[in-house]
């Protein structure tokens, strides 16, 4: 929570222009609230291009959600190709895509992962028989989470 916001885009453009014309490669500014690095990068045809990188106090710390990408150890598991909400059925109340005991082929849809308002079908990827649905309907799963186990 702050009284004012640091540096408008006009301010940044001015800082970049100063740096571009100077012999320096980088400006690195740290305050209690943020760290700003404005630096030269390699642009097209060797022309220097300028970047701005902001880091806010406390923003990096807890990498809680990165605990995701849980690579499933179970080789029989079908895993989520992306993070999102896992659904068993195409619509609420509709029959599930698969049930334990069902035979599946590589193209069989075993569920849907909703990410950013898009419905992404999850394919079995190989042939087998459904042994267990590992994740309840409507659960938020990380990328790589085991969803269904085949026998």
């Amino acid at each position: 929570m702050t009284e004012d916001l640091p540096l408008s885009h006009e301010d940044i453009a001015e800082i970049a222009a100063i740096l571009e014309k100077s012999g320096y490669r980088e400006l690195d500014l740290a305050t209690r609230r943020f760290r700003l690095r404005v630096g030269k990068a390699d642009g097209p045809q060797g022309e220097p291009a300028i970047t701005q990188e902001w880091q806010w106090a406390g923003a990096m710390g807890e990498a809680a959600t990165e605990a995701g990408d849980a690579v499933a150890a179970d080789p029989d598991a079908i895993c989520s190709p992306l993070p999102g909400t896992f659904y068993h059925a195409p619509q609420p109340g509709a029959p599930p895509f698969v049930r334990p005991g069902d035979a599946v082929g590589p193209e069989t849809v075993i569920g849907i992962v909703e990410t950013m308002k898009l419905m992404n079908p999850v394919h079995a990827g190989r042939s087998g028989k459904v042994a267990e649905i590992l994740v309840p309907d409507g659960t938020l799963v990380p990328k790589g989470a085991a969803l269904v186990r085949l026998s």
Partner: protein, 444 residues
């Protein structure tokens, strides 16, 4: 006056509104979901209040919770941003019933423009050209309309937006199957399966006009071309519309003003048109009664802060800008940097940005809520930030864009940046004035 503004949105647009409000001396309160509690806008607003869990139906789309939070925070106005509840008449009504100002048009305008068929009828009343087609309640009626428009045609959701419930149909024998899909999608996305039929223009450009109104008077702030789209969603926008005769541009601008005056439009709005890329004839599509994602390109060429104008009009002030005072200068281009993998069918790629080096420099503006360590949650749309460049000429703007895109470096997830590098190297883009089929013809 507005003393304390409630912002019912998230991401880059929340930050954008906070910036202007702070500059105007207005205190800001941001609605956040649990997933956004640590976001940059939540840190930079004067106050942040949690309105619910991550999924938007329980937070950003929950009218009662949002209005309740605004009232409790002691706010006197609500800015809805874009998307979410921004064009929801029931939300605007709830805000006004609670005694707060809604930063947007009149409720009757939201009602008129939210229904695409009603919007079409209003445009016809105002004397604007529209595409052949119209409503069709039954399967037989859809076939009858198709007989009038011919093929290819577009099926569109009456309550639509964002390309959902929209289907292109090339042959009569595909009409029934496409109708089933469009209705199912429209039902799922909007709770209303009604569709209408419209002629499909083979080489069409998407050109829109920014308008500003105070309920009595209305002006335009020029055109934007948003023809480069995927799945009917915009990727690149520029102002003014390039490679278009001045007379054609002025015709579209005047039509937009006529509509805004006819509606007694209040606030910032965008009239969207389909322009035939070959003869520049144009047809009204819809009016978006809110701030647009791509508003910064208009700000770049006009020097007008559109969010400030929205807030001033919401305070009940008449427009102080006149048409003569708006003197567009130079050319601006915006590219959307989304957390999506353009090489995997634009698959969403939420995650955490380990590094976020955005471009900077003369004529470069970046509107983003993603800094180092910034998170793109899986619940919302994939927009990470907008890169906007401005130059004296289109050529200079394209050159600056190339330099800026070369410098842009985001680690942690695939983004649309590599796609934009390919787009701006394409000779058709460099020449300017591409149609909406541009992406299909893009080389790897």
């Amino acid at each position: 006056m507005i003393r304390k503004l409630f912002i019912a949105n998230r991401g880059e647009i929340a930050l954008r509104v906070i910036r202007t409000a702070s500059r105007m001396g207005i205190e800001t309160v941001l609605a956040v979901s649990e997933a956004d509690a640590g976001s940059l806008p939540a840190r930079l607003a004067d106050h942040a209040v949690t309105v619910g869990p991550g999924p938007s139906p329980q937070s950003y789309l929950a009218i009662e919770r949002v209005v309740d939070a605004a009232v409790r925070a002691g706010c006197d106005a609500v800015h809805p941003g874009y998307g979410f509840l921004s064009e929801n008449a029931a939300f605007a009504r709830a805000v006004e019933s609670a005694g707060l100002r809604f930063v947007g048009p009149a409720i009757s305008t939201l009602e008129g423009m939210g229904d695409k068929l009603a919007a079409r009828a209003l445009a016809v009343e105002a004397g604007l050209p529209v595409l052949p087609g119209g409503a069709a309640q039954t399967r037989e009626a859809v076939h009858a309309r198709a007989a009038q428009t011919g093929f290819p045609l577009l099926l569109k959701a009456v309550a639509g937006g964002g390309g959902k419930g929209m289907r292109r149909v090339d042959r009569a024998q595909d009409l029934d199957a496409a109708l089933d899909m469009a209705q199912a999608e429209a039902q799922a996305a909007f709770g209303n399966s009604a569709v209408y039929v419209e002629r499909f223009v083979a080489r069409g450009r998407h050109v829109e006009v920014q308008v500003l109104g105070d309920g009595t008077n209305a002006i335009h702030l020029g055109t934007r071309d948003c023809s480069i789209q995927r799945r009917f969603q915009k990727l690149v926008e520029e102002a003014p519309a390039p490679a278009m005769p001045l007379a054609a541009r002025e015709g579209i601008e005047q039509a937009a003003v006529r509509l805004a005056r006819h509606l007694g439009y209040r606030g910032a709005g965008t009239a969207e048109f389909l322009v035939d890329a070959d003869d520049f004839s144009f047809y009204f599509l819809e009016l978006n009664a809110r701030i647009q994602v791509e508003h910064p390109v208009t700000e770049a060429i006009t020097g007008v802060d559109l969010v400030e104008q929205q807030l001033l009009v919401a305070m009940g002030k008449p427009l102080t800008l006149t048409q003569d005072m708006v003197r567009p200068h130079g050319h601006a281009i915006e590219v959307r940097i989304n957390a999506e993998d353009p090489d995997a069918g634009f698959r969403p790629s939420p995650g955490r940005a380990g590094r976020a080096a955005w471009p900077a420099g003369e004529g470069v503006r970046v509107d983003t809520h993603i800094s180092v360590g910034g998170e793109v949650p899986p619940f919302y749309d994939s927009l990470m930030g907008k890169l906007i460049v401005h130059g004296e000429t289109r050529e200079e703007a394209v050159h600056r864009l190339g330099k800026a895109l070369a410098a842009l470096h985001i680690e942690g997830m695939p983004t649309t940046a590599p796609l934009h590098r390919r787009i701006i190297a394409d000779p058709r883009f460099i020449a300017g004035g591409v149609d909406t089929g541009f992406l299909e013809g893009l080389g790897q």
